[in-house]
């Protein structure tokens, strides 16, 4: 049983900086939890507190059913990949991988087997005899990952374990790590994983739940799809999804008895249930719409709203084009399939366009608190 639960966890660094502000989080046994958040939001700090490397200055940390605030790292049954790798410079790659097992008294044969399996998984069998200083950045990172996975801990802590790998290898690793997690679960030895990443794809594809952090405070914890579709606040909305959601200042206003959003000189009526819920409300609001919910052509489904716009520029990304435009003074960007974008070819900056907004997919947030509205 390796449930990890944090309650009211706080961290004040010796220099007085308060990095973590009362975090409450319950990670289920065997769950794959991803931490995301801007640089410096305390992801590593939290991880290190779970690992027992950083003292906990407030709150309670439990692993399984045991309070572990004061338990030393080695007694917590964890494996960790450090953001800076922290390989043992005086040991070969093989020994780096084998070290933890050796300490655990693993029989030589099994140890060798597991080390070689891990090396194979991470495509680094040819590196086993090298010393860390003879490795490339990505290779070193793989060793760091390998060091964690040769062990069979109850809790895995990964701190951006794939950041230095190329896309292809990263994709492969992603799959292998997910499979590893699955396999363990299938074998009835589920391992809880806390995984810090900056990579949207990793977060979305690997995480069973994602925890979004900002400045040491949890913003939202939910499944990837839920985060994407129902961000709890403007921060999460902006943070999840790439390219990021358009978030602009807008005005909620009544329109013919139902609600509408005024922005950039345009009035965009809201529809259906949402309109009803907001009817009568008024005032400043943050309007959010993902780039993929804006098209250059009307939607065949007919649920898009044409809005006049001015072109800023376009970016060609192979199969799709990012269209950057203004509505009034407000900047927006849209992500359109390359074939929709043919009409934009040759247009100059400032050219007038009509963009099609899927108002049904729009998000509204309180201007002050940022919290989602209706």
């Amino acid at each position: 049983m390796a449930r990890v639960s944090l309650s009211k966890i706080e961290k004040v660094y010796p220099n007085g900086f308060k990095a973590v502000h009362g975090v409450d989080l319950d990670i289920r046994d065997g769950e794959f939890m991803v931490f995301v958040g801007p640089s410096g939001c305390a992801k590593s700090t939290l991880l290190r507190m779970v690992a027992g490397l950083e003292s906990i200055t407030g709150g309670e940390l439990r692993i399984g059913d045991k309070r572990v605030n004061d338990l030393p790292a080695k007694a917590r049954g964890i494996a960790m990949v450090f953001q800076n790798y922290a390989l043992y410079p005086h040991m070969t790659v093989y020994d780096n991988l084998a070290f933890g097992l050796k300490l655990a008294g693993t029989p030589k044969k099994e140890l060798d087997l597991r080390v070689r399996q891990a090396a194979q998984l991470l495509e680094m069998e040819h590196l086993l005899e090298r010393y860390p200083k003879q490795l490339s950045g990505g290779q070193a990172q793989r060793v760091a990952v390998g060091r964690a996975i040769v062990k069979k801990p109850e809790v895995f802590l990964f701190d951006e374990p794939l950041s230095n790998l190329d896309a292809k290898l990263r994709a492969a690793m992603r799959v292998r790590l997910t499979e590893l997690h699955q396999t363990l679960r299938d074998q009835g030895q589920p391992a809880t994983v806390i995984y810090v990443t900056h990579d949207q794809t990793e977060a979305m594809t690997m995480g069973e739940r994602i925890c979004v952090l900002k400045e040491g405070v949890i913003q939202q914890v939910d499944t990837p799809v839920a985060l994407y579709e129902k961000p709890a606040n403007a921060f999460v909305a902006g943070f999840i999804g790439s390219p990021e959601m358009n978030l602009v200042k807008a005005e909620l206003q009544p329109l013919n008895g139902s609600a509408a959003v005024g922005l950039g000189g345009q009035v965009l009526p809201l529809s259906g249930a949402r309109s009803a819920a907001l009817a009568g409300r008024q005032g400043a609001i943050t309007f959010g719409l993902r780039p993929e919910h804006i098209g250059a052509l009307p939607r065949p489904q007919g649920d898009s709203l044409p809005v006049p716009a001015t072109l800023r520029f376009t970016e060609h990304m192979g199969s799709e084009v990012y269209v950057h435009f203004n509505i009034g003074e407000l900047p927006f960007s849209a992500r359109v399939p390359v074939e929709q974008a043919s009409g934009l070819h040759g247009l100059q900056r400032g050219a007038a366009l009509t963009m099609h907004l899927q108002m049904g997919a729009a998000h509204l947030f309180d201007a002050a608190s940022g919290l989602a509205v209706a």
Binding site: L53, A79, F82, A86, L87, P89, G100, L103, P132, R147
Partner: protein, 289 residues
């Protein structure tokens, strides 16, 4: 590890004119080596020559001095004295390294009650002239009946009383980042395993210097054995070397110097063997950018 390897050109690239470096180094090391050269030369000289000639070139080559020096004027040859020296030195080095590394580890990496004051005491004990401690220590060992044995020379080291080394190791450790130790904690190291697998390799250059220092200092130590050892058969080299230097008699300096030169050899050998480790740190060789 690849010592000969050059991980980066920066540190070991030869300057435009390497021979300039060689000449400068050679000149200065001649200055440093001069004593030894002179000593070796002196072993072939008569007393009169020794005292009148600053040059080292002897007028004849005769290894008699070595032979006579080795035989000594005592019942024993220097073989005995060398053996005695090693009997003192080797265990002393072992207990010194063990105790000092342990204590340094505790001071540098643990928090415990009274740490600051203990550290202050430790550093403080080095500041009182040893000479005044000599008598009290002697009385102490007399009380426990350890006089005329090697115990007084070895035992204190087993309790990390060579605070010089403790202080030194502490300073080294405090300068080494903790990343590796954190990784090892996660890997399940207990404190002792951490010490053995992580701290010791990282401290290797410092530990080697402890070994070298302790070896050379113990070999050279005169006062300790002088006070505690009364039996000639237990004398170490340092005492034996001065055996034949009376106050008023004629001394055959060539013999004395010859054996002094021989007595230097173990120390020189140990240093030479150890010195490559001074420049073979583990901590520095981390991952490159």
């Amino acid at each position: 590890m690849t010592t000969s390897a050059s991980p980066a050109p920066l540190r070991d690239a030869a300057p435009p004119v390497p021979w300039v470096r060689y000449i400068a180094l050679g000149a200065v090391s001649l200055l440093m080596l001069y004593p030894l050269i002179w000593l070796v030369g002196a072993t072939f000289k008569t007393n009169a020559e020794i005292f009148t000639e600053i040059g080292f070139w002897p007028s004849r080559l005769d290894f008699g001095a070595y032979e006579k020096g080795w035989k000594t004027s005592t019942e024993y040859t220097f073989a005995t004295y060398f053996l005695n020296s090693f009997i003192i030195t080797v265990p002393r080095i072992i207990v010194t390294v063990i105790s000092c590394v342990l204590v340094a580890y505790a001071f540098a990496r643990f928090e415990f009650w009274g740490k600051k004051s203990l550290f202050a005491i430790m550093v403080g004990t080095m500041m009182l002239p040893l000479i005044v401690l000599r008598l009290p220590q002697y009385l102490m060992f007399r009380e426990v009946g350890m006089l005329d044995s090697y115990w007084p020379l070895i035992l204190p080291s087993a309790f990390a009383t060579d605070t010089f080394f403790v202080f030194m190791l502490v300073q080294f450790l405090r300068g080494i980042p903790r990343d590796m130790e954190e990784a090892a904690m996660i890997d399940g190291c207990n404190a002792i395993q951490m010490l053995w697998h992580i701290i010791v390799p990282l401290l290797k250059p410092a530990i080697i210097s402890v070994v070298v220092f302790q070896f050379i200092w113990t070999m050279n130590d005169f006062m300790g054995p002088l006070i505690y050892l009364a039996s000639v058969e237990k004398y170490p080299v340092s005492l034996a070397l001065k055996m034949s230097i009376g106050a008023t008699e004629e001394v055959e300096w060539a013999n004395v110097i010859a054996i002094s030169v021989v007595a230097l050899l173990p120390s020189v050998a140990v240093f030479f063997a150890a010195q490559k480790h001074f420049i073979e740190g583990a901590a520095s060789s981390g991952i490159k950018g």
